[in-house]
Amino acid sequence: MELLLGVLAWPLAILGMIFLIAGAVGMTRLPDLYTRLHAASVTDTGGTLVIGLVLLLYAVFVYGSAMVAIKLLLIMGFTLFTAPTASHVLAKAALLSGLVPVDGKGEPLLESSEQATQLGRSRPDASSAVQEKR
Amino acid sequence: METFIVGVLLSFLVIIAIGIIVLRDLLAAVILLGVYSLIAAGAFVVMDAVDVAFTEAAVGAGISTILYLGALRFTTDRQKPRGHDSLPALLFVVLTGALLIYGTLDMPHYGSATSPAQTHEQVAVRFLEVSGDEVGPPNIVTSVLASYRGYDTLGETVVVFAAGIAVMSLLGLRRRRPQQDISDDERAES
């Protein structure tokens, strides 16, 4: 039982840690907000889910407590919903406030911040009126 | 292991605090205060102060950010540039800080079994041993707060109430009538 738990839990935990650290490194190293967002959002949610799964294994098989398991599931569920929403809202707000995405060399991908604002608008007609610079 | 985690979290706190002091952008400072309370709550949990951590989690992450932002809306999010850094002021601050740190040397170590809180007339031991039979709740913090020290908590509730009244009287209590329905997008594009 112990062995089985270890065999299941360790790979999951290592996967989760890789997610978390990769996301954090990406957040420090990448050039602009949108790429950082891209690095951080998926890995955060994924890392939380995977490590939550490890904790869930322990909650079920070691502590045998249904309450702990339910709370862990709730935490995982809320993270699964709120973290992507927060990323979406963050990106949309950044576009609306006119933050222009840049590429690896630091060159802007849009002509002006007004274009970014237009892209951030939720109305389809407003966003289709803008095409990218290249 | 717990000591290590607490140490790392506390050093994060110091880094954040220095960052808050250095940054001129008050909005950034408010955002960093959110991180501060996150770290503080983490440290409280690892130190076993669960109820304190809960309060920090509930108040620090959500409500205090909103109140700070509300305050920023009344003023501005840029800090005024400082005139000049005066040397006597710096000396004074360093001296006060050194005195405070000197004062902490007398304090009992973290988790010490011989600290006055543990040994004074065996109060802590008494609560731990008798509160289950006297008051009931398994969470002794609740029985201390609500029963043994009910006067205190009554006072605290009144303080919260008074603070709410004070802020509302500062912000103005006027009622407002409902607005006509105009879609926000229409208004922005008109």
Binding site: I21, A24, V25, F78, T82, S87 | L38, G42, R73
Partner: protein, 94 residues
């Protein structure tokens, strides 16, 4: 052992996130860092509960998972023009 390793990995990730929170050129970068930091704190609190053999602490992690979102939304609302009296959205507005 397992929980200690996860906790250390979380602390390293938190440190890197903290760098972004302090350095981030725009407020959005800081906000992203705070949001991500919140997720990691939720995990750290949960892991710490297991590490100390008292997983009942998950209440706090749960409240953080719920409230962390609120702070992000509040800061983002700060960037909108103040329009306090007209908080009206049409139902079919997207």
């Amino acid at each position: 052992m397992l929980f200690s390793v996860i906790a250390i990995a979380l602390l390293v990730a938190m440190l890197l996130t903290l760098v972004r929170a302090l350095a981030g050129p725009t407020a959005f970068d800081r906000l992203l860092a705070v949001n991500s930091f919140g997720t990691k704190t939720v995990l750290l609190i949960a892991v710490a509960g297991f590490l100390m053999g008292r997983p009942e602490f998950l209440d706090i992690a749960l409240s953080y998972a719920l409230i962390n979102f609120l702070g992000t939304v509040a800061v983002l609302k700060y960037f909108e023009l103040p329009d306090p009296d007209s908080g009206h959205y049409a139902e079919d507005d997207y």
